[in-house]
C-alpha cells in the first residue's frame, strides 16, 4: 500500500510542477515525472511476491514458471505508454522551441500577457 501511495505522491509532485510552474521546460519536466509515476504504478500492480521475469528459459519447468512469473499484461501496457510519452515529449519540445522563437521567452505568464 505504501508503495502505491508513494507513487501517487510522485504523481502529485509532477502535477504541482505542471500547474504552478511558469517555465515551459519545467512544465514539460512535470509531465515527464507524471509519466514515470503512472508507468511505475502499472508495473507495481503486476508484481508477484518472489516473482521472476516472464521470460521462459531452457532450464525452467513450465509449471513452476506459470506460478512464479510476474504478470506480463501491465508490462505490455507500460511499453506502449512509454513510447506514447516519448511521442508527446517530442511534440512538446518542438512547440517549446517554436514558442521561444516567437515570444523570446519560456515564461508562460509572459506569453499569455503578450497574446492579449
Amino acid at each position: 500500500m505504501t508503495l502505491y501511495f508513494l507513487d501517487f505522491v510522485l504523481l502529485i509532485i509532477g502535477l504541482y510542477a505542471l500547474v504552478v510552474k511558469r517555465h515551459i521546460v519545467k512544465k514539460i519536466l512535470g509531465v515527464a515525472i507524471m509519466e514515470y509515476a503512472v508507468n511505475l504504478f502499472l508495473i507495481l500492480l503486476g508484481f508477484r511476491k518472489a516473482g521472476i521475469a516472464p521470460i521462459f528459459t531452457k532450464d525452467m519447468d513450465i509449471n513452476t514458471f506459470i506460478h512464479t512469473a510476474v504478470d506480463p499484461l501491465p508490462q505490455a501496457l507500460v511499453l506502449t505508454s512509454i513510447v506514447i510519452g516519448l511521442g508527446t515529449l517530442a511534440l512538446m519540445v518542438a512547440m517549446a522551441i517554436r514558442l521561444y522563437e516567437r515570444y523570446g521567452t519560456f515564461d508562460m505568464e509572459e506569453i499569455n500577457r503578450l497574446r492579449g
Binding site: A53, I55, F56, K58, L79, V83, L86, A90, V93, A94, I97, R98, Y100, E101
Partner: protein, 157 residues
Amino acid sequence: MKKNKQSGMTFIVKTITNLIIGFMMVFGAYIVLYGHITPGGGFPGGVMIALAYILITLAYGRKVVESMVSGIAGSIADDFGALVILILGFIGLLIGGTFLFNFLPKGTPFSLFSAGNIILYNLAITVKVGMSLYIVFLALAILQRVVTEDETQEVRK
C-alpha cells in the same frame, strides 16, 4: 568516415564515438532479432540504432550523418516500416479472418524463427521507430542552429 576538423566536438569524443558505434549497432540488432526469446523487442532495438546515428550527429556534425542516411531516405524508410505493419495486418485479415492474425508457422520455442510473424513485426517496428526518431532529431538539430544564428554567435555544429 571522413574526419572534417572544424565541425563536431573535440577529438576525444570523436575517437570514443568510433569505438562505441559498432558495439551499439550490434547490441541493438541483437535486441531486435532475439526480441521474442530474451528481453528486448522492436522498440528498444530501434531506438538504440537511432541513438547510434544521433551520437554520430553530435560528435561529427550533421553533414557527415546526412551523407550516410539523408532525411528523405529516413522518412521513406519510416513510411515503409509502417506500411509493412499494415500489410501484415491485412494479410492476417485475409488468411485468418481477423486483423493482425499470426499466420506464419510457430516453429520450435527457442529457435530464431520461432514465433510466426512476431519477428516480422519486430523488424518493421525497428525500422519505423529508429528512422522516425532519427529524422525528428535532425529536424530539432536544424532548427536549433537557426535559433542560435539569430543570436549571431556561430555555434560549432
